[in-house]
Symmetry: C2
Subunit: 354 residues, 2 copies
């Protein structure tokens, strides 16, 4: 049952030298005779020596490993961010371990403790929908483990983060709906716990205001969990006396679920109701009609978060964000117009975005 590994002591014994010398040879320390180094390297290779990172991290007090915690990864958003993180971290000689919370606060806390117990050197985080208590994050900070957030950033914490301008992006999306002549624009918002939800909603409200459209509370609903709820809400909208002629959805899955309800009712998209989503999931380009949505530079977000974390980890003097303002980077979004807002022939005339 128990695995057996070769240790540097085994190598030392065979070559009749000390383990210190073996260690030096293996880590490329300059003070080792070429002859000795070669002998060590060869024996190590032939015995398939595999360094023990536990012992190493334990003895050196850093593990050269970072963690990334994401709330879910069934959409393409998070996987794609992770790939960006891995790129940068691999190049910098770090290992990346991925934790996935299934949108569960409890998992988040336990995964955080797991990563800390493995003494990772830093953590990149996007928190779950359920997270309202941030003690597990401040714990990491108190332990001196740098944190960088992206996408979902705890509002009251002063931490380095990478975000997009949710407000502005939502504003543009809604303005686009207004400019194509829509007046009764509904909004399916996200869970109240996320800043993103509030920012996007504000963008929605302000776009309406700018164009002199009165906000109608009947046309806004908050959506917390399942696809089922979206469908119920959407059905409700469509059965209003004066139903909406457009929908701005908090994200693409919501928009797509709403589209199904609309199509099932026999209504036309975009003629009867135009729809906009958020994030440009892979599926946004696949549905029929194609979904107009806000593209986020996912891989870039990951790369940037990784760069920021490297900065934090490399700082000789740890940044104290109880005093100093934490850096924040805002990356640009891009509104991708597809057939769910502008009917086919019109789109073809415009620059076609795929």
């Amino acid at each position: 049952m128990k695995a057996k590994y070769i240790t540097i002591i085994d190598i030392a014994r065979q070559l009749n030298i000390s383990k210190s010398t073996v260690s030096r040879a293996l880590t490329g320390h300059p003070n080792v005779k070429e002859h000795t180094r070669k002998a060590v390297m060869e024996l190590a290779a032939s015995m398939e020596y595999q360094r023990n990172s536990l012992a190493l991290g334990f003895s050196k007090h850093n593990t050269n490993t970072i963690g990334i915690m994401v709330p879910e990864f069934m959409s393409t958003y998070f996987p794609s961010v992770i790939v960006g993180v891995q790129d940068v971290m691999q190049a910098a000689g770090y290992n990346v371990v991925i934790c996935q919370q299934n949108e569960s606060y409890e998992s988040e806390v336990s995964n955080m403790k797991l990563l800390l117990s493995y003494r990772v050197d830093g953590i990149i985080v996007s928190h779950t929908k359920e997270t309202r208590n941030f003690d597990h994050f401040t714990l990491a900070q108190r332990r001196g483990v740098p944190l960088v957030f992206f996408n979902r950033v705890p509002e009251d914490m002063n931490v380095p983060n990478v975000i997009v301008n949710d407000y502005e992006a939502a504003f543009q999306a809604v303005e686009h709906l207004i400019l194509i002549g829509r007046k009764r624009i509904a909004h399916l918002a996200g869970p109240e716990s996320l800043v993103n939800t509030r920012l996007r909603r504000q963008g929605y409200l302000d776009a309406l205001k700018k164009h002199g459209i009165a906000y109608n509370p009947d046309l806004m609903l908050s959506y917390d969990l399942t696809t089922e709820k979206v469908k119920i809400y959407m059905k409700h909208f469509l059965e209003l006396d004066t139903p909406p002629d457009a929908l701005f959805a908090i994200n693409d899955p919501t928009a797509i679920a709403a589209m199904e309800v609309v199509k099932a009712k026999g209504l036309r998209i975009p003629e009867d109701i135009a729809i906009v989503g958020f994030s440009n999931d892979f599926s946004a380009g696949l549905v029929h009609p194609g979904l107009t949505t806000v593209a986020q530079p996912t891989s870039e977000i990951g790369r940037m978060a990784a760069e920021m974390l490297l900065q934090e980890m490399r700082a000789k003097v740890k940044n104290d964000y109880t005093i100093k303002k934490a850096p924040t980077v805002q990356l640009p979004t891009r509104l991708i117009i597809r057939e769910s807002t502008v009917s086919e022939e019109k789109t073809k005339k415009a620059v076609k975005s795929k």
Copy 2:
């Protein structure tokens, strides 16, 4: 820069007892006076003691952690398997770390070494398209670290694995095309390195044979990398003197890319050409028309692989698969018929699968 953590010695010192006692209290050893245990627990909590898993794994020679290695995770297949694995492993008290290879053999080798260097207790693997050399896997076995494969299983290795019957599933899919009257059925196969490719191709060939349709080599192409290639191949098929009236694609992304080419040509699906994919990605239900495809029980695959790994890890005497036949579990697939093979009204009459 360096993080500082509380150790059991700090606790021992404060309470003026030995670290052995603290250790016992913390791990729930029976021989500790209730009074002492309480004092330790309280102090540990108030000091936010965080056990050092490195030291622990290092000293105990097992880490209570398993690794899972997947070739990519931009499709829904692998994430969904991972969720299944996590479910079972969490319940069994194990931690799961995820490694993603971006379909790169090199990453696979280095991630394998990473996991071994962290002395994980077991590993669940699906290898990359590029993998033709399996030394890094046998290395793990020689070290006594149990491996369980799923989906992509190295052909010449005798290892526990969880698969679906690719042959049978492909056979059924192609037979379905034949039964709806198609005669010229094209096949876009996968990379030669995967067993799955070969099995699905054999299913394709045998279904044709069973129904007396001669195999036409012009209608089969192997597809190795990009979406671009699929499009080129598909265009080529459509420009043949007698183009195919159906396509069996190795997976859903391939099928979907092919659909775009067909639609761009102004041909109708399924009237002019019927299309079947494989795996039932999330997007298969979203495209227009809906893609007929073979559903795999992804989360079940993950759960089963996890169960098998637990078995292996718990075996008092390590199973030696150089002697004994490794267990294999085959889970059932299900052909999901959508509008890409059977036009809308007909589908509605049949049991509608969503």
